[in-house]
């Protein structure tokens, strides 16, 4: 029994650095916030690091080959833990009742058989492509969300921001300034010492001067009591980070655009079906979405949450009741601004001949099209900016229309 608990809670390959969750936000409000139409759009990008098994999260139970391929971990519409039917073909993992409710209320959507342009199977390159927005790996100076911020009209500086973890996720890294915060209980250096050190750095080491002065500005706002670190498992921390993020983002002068990363989705062994390790993590994700909804209050109606992962996993389970690195997977959208209640998919089928390289769900939708559609719907970015600046050389991946209400 103890082994089982250990596996579920601790077997996170991408690990549990500061709880396996990180958050960072743009340091400015978009200028059109509180504009005449009353819309004050918010965007939260959630990166699932480790490669989410899309076929176990939104299962194509109507595909005759699914049950055979996914074997012992396949979901089904009946049994002790029935999957939740989203339509006659696709069923949602039973660990995600909140997402199911949002879907029924047409505030959540699934895009299935998506992938970035990356076609190899290295996590680290895959994440670089997902987050950098470039067509191939090796470009890690800036992320697509940061480049999108650069073209947005910049208004007031946000009064608060938070990030868990001492680093900013790549998707939000770049020249547009971001804020972050790490919840720790450590007595802080006094202001005078901080000022003297900043001064020394300014003369001797400008890079450290810039890092330290940013670090010093980041505190306060997010340090409400409920964001103090409590002992707890990764799932509780997903909720906790989401709750803290939502609290800040709900404020009039709080950040509007933010990114989170949740680690631990690399389910090579004993992935579990309706219950088990993946179920446990999906429950955490579902909880985080619910925290966004309740924490954002009446701002939820202007919000889109995008959930994406670097690639999918093999269609056929491996020899250890898990799945190895694959290709096509899902993206999830949630939020009051989402035109939801739909699984959007050009379903490729799971016959052997239809699988990518005979092993993975074949991607039929470019993830960049989905993200472009959201950025266009929320912030009105033009096709050209999206195809040249935000996702360089991506004109072929046209923005998906009608994702945002």
């Amino acid at each position: 029994m103890i082994d089982c608990v250990e596996n579920r809670l601790l077997t996170s390959r991408r690990g549990l650095l500061l709880g396996g969750a990180s958050f960072a936000a743009w340091a400015y409000l978009p200028k059109f916030a509180r504009a005449a139409d009353g819309r004050d759009p918010r965007l939260i990008v959630v990166i699932l690091r480790g490669a989410l098994d899309g076929l176990s999260t939104v299962a194509p139970v109507g595909d005759p080959d699914y049950a055979g391929l996914h074997g012992s971990i396949a979901l089904s519409a009946d049994g002790a833990h029935p999957a939740i039917m989203l339509d006659p073909f696709f069923a949602l993992h039973p660990a995600m009742p909140e997402f199911a409710r949002m879907y029924r209320d047409t505030h959540a959507a699934v895009i299935h058989a998506v992938a970035t342009p990356y076609r190899d199977r290295s996590h680290f390159d895959g994440q670089d492509v997902l987050e950098s927005g470039y067509a191939g790996p090796g470009r890690v100076q800036s992320g697509w969300l940061n480049r999108a911020l650069e073209v947005l009209p910049r208004g007031e500086r946000v009064s608060s921001g938070l990030a868990v973890g001492p680093t900013t996720p790549l998707v939000l890294r770049g020249s547009a300034p971001t804020v972050g915060w790490a919840p720790v209980a450590l007595p802080q250096a006094d202001d005078d010492t901080a000022m003297r050190l900043t001064e020394l750095y300014r003369h001797r080491d400008p890079a450290l001067a810039s890092a330290l002065s940013q670090g010093l500005q980041l505190e306060k706002a997010a340090t409400g009591d409920d964001m103090k670190r409590k002992p707890g498992n990764a799932v509780a921390q997903m909720r906790q980070v989401a709750r803290g993020a939502a609290k800040l983002m709900a404020a009039d002068d709080g950040p509007r655009i933010a990114a989170l990363a949740f680690d631990g989705w690399d389910t090579h062994a004993n992935e579990g079906g309706p219950v088990g390790r993946l179920a446990f993590l999906l429950g955490g994700l579902d909880g985080a979405l619910a925290e966004f909804e309740s924490g954002l209050g009446n701002r939820w109606r202007d919000t889109v949450v995008v959930v994406a992962t670097e690639f999918g996993r093999t269609a056929r389970i491996n020899g250890t009741d898990g799945t190895d690195h694959g290709t096509g997977t899902i993206a999830l959208l949630a939020g009051g601004a989402v035109k939801g209640g739909r699984v959007i998919s050009d379903w490729p089928g799971l016959k052997l001949a239809n699988l990518h390289e005979g092993r993975d769900l074949k991607p039929t939708t470019d993830l960049r099209s989905v993200i472009k559609g959201v950025l266009q719907g929320q912030f009105g970015l033009s096709d050209r900016v999206l195809a040249e600046t935000v996702f360089p050389d991506s004109a072929a991946a046209r923005p998906m229309k009608g994702l945002v209400a």
């Binding site: 680093t167 915060w181 330290l212 002992p231």
Partner: protein, 526 residues
């Protein structure tokens, strides 16, 4: 003899763990003969091995975990039994119960049973603390703090005790080393071939032994030997799931209807040897996964060998020849995988990958191409002689001329601070907590690619702020008894910038001066 203090900083900070304070004379010695100072450690036979009283072998530790798990199970069953007895024998309202049973022990993270099961609670709390980086109520902000006064301390279980003993031995070695070059090499290779203690109890208890057994003996030896030692070490086999991988056509695979797990095979090629883009395909990954089926460790029953030791399980091994990177490997059991690893170790992509990573770690985020090319050539020519690789690095001009633009990692920073303050760690807790806080939990990187190795990763805003907080705590605790200007002489002497010297001189207190010294570019850059 002429003294070059700028070169001394390179010798001590780029290659080593920084100058020791007190009477060590490190900075003067390094300034007198910078290259000789660094290379002296390379000449000591067996100088990299770490043996300390009480540190045990991997099988011994594995058996300790198995015994501990049995004990926990028995305690739990006993508690259940007592509860059942109590329920049967006593009237409903009678209290207190002799052994309050936990209704759902496996789902609770913070068990508080009676004395028999206290160990369980300790172990659970440890897993949580260690893997989730920080736990405010036990935070030790100051590395030199006295032993913590925890409320209601739990006795440590064997896993926690071992992890702490291993950590302490490593920290003491790093603090006491003369230059610290070979210890830095240990950290480099240990991070290259990392496991994560966060994987579970076995990984946590084995983390130190893995480094002592698979890394240290080969740091000045051959890459191919280190590679084989690493991939056959139970800690790595456990970390990347290979003990679960069965050849689909092997007897065990057929009987148990289970098969391949390609996790370890992929990371061997992607992270340990060839590197992404190193010329392998998905077919090669699967093929290597088949080749190393049966590489596992003996379990608690010991049917295959001493529990916790590496074994080749022929029953789990995929039969038949396999093609890997264009070459056919005949079915020779364990030797099939060993031959494959030996070839991968001397693949040109491996030489390139290792040379690049090595130079990036020690010299610059953008490694000078000529130096990389030279080290690659040496790696090929010497068949992966890692002492030759390290020597060539120290002999190069680039390593001495490139500006000190790298950042000390949190581990480097904490060790260098302890060395300068001449404090030999007696207790690992404060170090472990500060490492968690700064995002580099010991032996627990977030993924199999290890901790990042760029200046930017460690000079992030939040990280710098936390470093300052930690340095301030150290200053507040220790500033009374030291003269910061003396320490500056030990740390940098004439290589200190005028601004740093003035900043320390003008500090409003010794405490503040010490914090500023520890945070100065001279102490942060390497």
């Amino acid at each position: 003899m002429a003294r070059d203090f700028q070169a001394a900083l390179v010798a001590l900070n780029r290659f080593g763990f920084g100058a020791r304070g007190g009477a060590s004379g490190d900075l003067i010695n390094a300034a007198s003969d910078p290259r000789g100072f660094v290379k002296a450690e390379l000449a000591r036979p067996n100088g990299v091995l770490l043996e300390a009283p009480g540190l045990q072998s991997t099988p011994q530790l594995g058996q300790a975990v198995f015994a501990y798990q049995d004990q926990v199970k028995q305690a739990r069953e006993a508690a259940k039994e007592t509860a059942r007895e109590t329920a049967k024998d006593t009237a409903p309202a009678e209290t207190p119960q002799p052994a309050p049973a936990d209704p759902k022990p496996a789902l609770r993270r913070n068990l508080s049973l009676n004395a028999v099961a206290t160990e369980i609670a300790g172990q659970m709390a440890d897993a949580k603390t260690a893997d989730n980086a920080a736990k405010p109520d036990t935070m030790q902000p100051n590395m030199a703090a006295p032993p913590p006064a925890k409320p209601a301390p739990q006795p440590l279980n064997v896993i926690q005790k071992t992890f702490r003993a291993e950590a302490l031995a490593r920290l003491q070695r790093a603090t006491l080393a003369e230059c610290g070059f070979t210890e830095r090499l240990v950290v480099f290779w240990s991070n290259h071939f990392c496991i994560s203690a966060g994987k579970g109890e076995l990984a946590r208890i084995w983390a130190g032994a893995f480094e002592r057994e698979a890394i240290r003996p080969h740091v000045l030896g051959r890459f191919a030997d280190m590679l084989r030692a690493v991939e056959q070490h139970p800690a790595m086999l456990f970390f990347l799931d290979n003990q679960q991988s069965l050849g689909p056509d092997s007897r065990a695979g057929q009987n148990r209807k289970r098969g391949l797990n390609e996790n370890l095979a992929r990371e061997i090629m992607e992270l340990h040897t060839l590197g992404v883009g190193g010329g392998y395909t998905q077919e090669d990954v699967t093929s290597l996964a088949r080749i190393i089926t049966g590489w596992t460790f003996a379990g608690r029953q010991g049917q295959l060998g001493a529990p916790g030791s590496f074994v080749f399980n022929a029953n789990a091994h995929q039969p038949g020849p396999q093609v890997l990177l264009g070459k056919t490997y005949q079915a020779t059991g364990l030797a099939q995988g060993e031959a494959a690893l030996a070839d991968i170790a001397r693949h040109p992509s491996t030489a390139n990958f290792i040379a690049t990573k090595f130079v990036r770690h020690f010299v610059a985020d953008d490694p000078p191409p000529a130096l990389v090319a030279r080290l690659r050539e040496i790696f090929v020519r010497t068949d992966g002689d890692l002492r030759a690789l390290a020597t060539a690095l120290v002999d190069s001009d680039e390593a001495w001329k490139s500006p000190l633009s790298k950042m000390r990692s949190p581990y480097d920073f904490l060790v260098a601070s302890g060395r300068l303050l001449a404090r030999v760690p007696e207790e690992p807790g404060p170090y472990l907590n500060n490492l968690n806080l700064l995002g580099q939990p010991l032996w627990s990187p977030a993924g199999p690619n290890g901790f990042p190795d760029t200046a930017a990763a460690w000079a992030a805003p939040e990280g710098m702020k936390l470093r300052l907080d930690i340095a301030s705590q150290m200053g507040a605790r220790l500033g009374n008894n030291i003269d910061p200007l003396d320490l500056l002489e030990f740390a940098a002497a004439d290589a200190a910038s005028i601004e740093t010297r003035k900043t320390i001189e003008r500090a409003e207190s010794r405490q503040q001066a010490l914090a500023l010294l520890l945070m100065s570019p001279e102490m942060q850059r390497r």
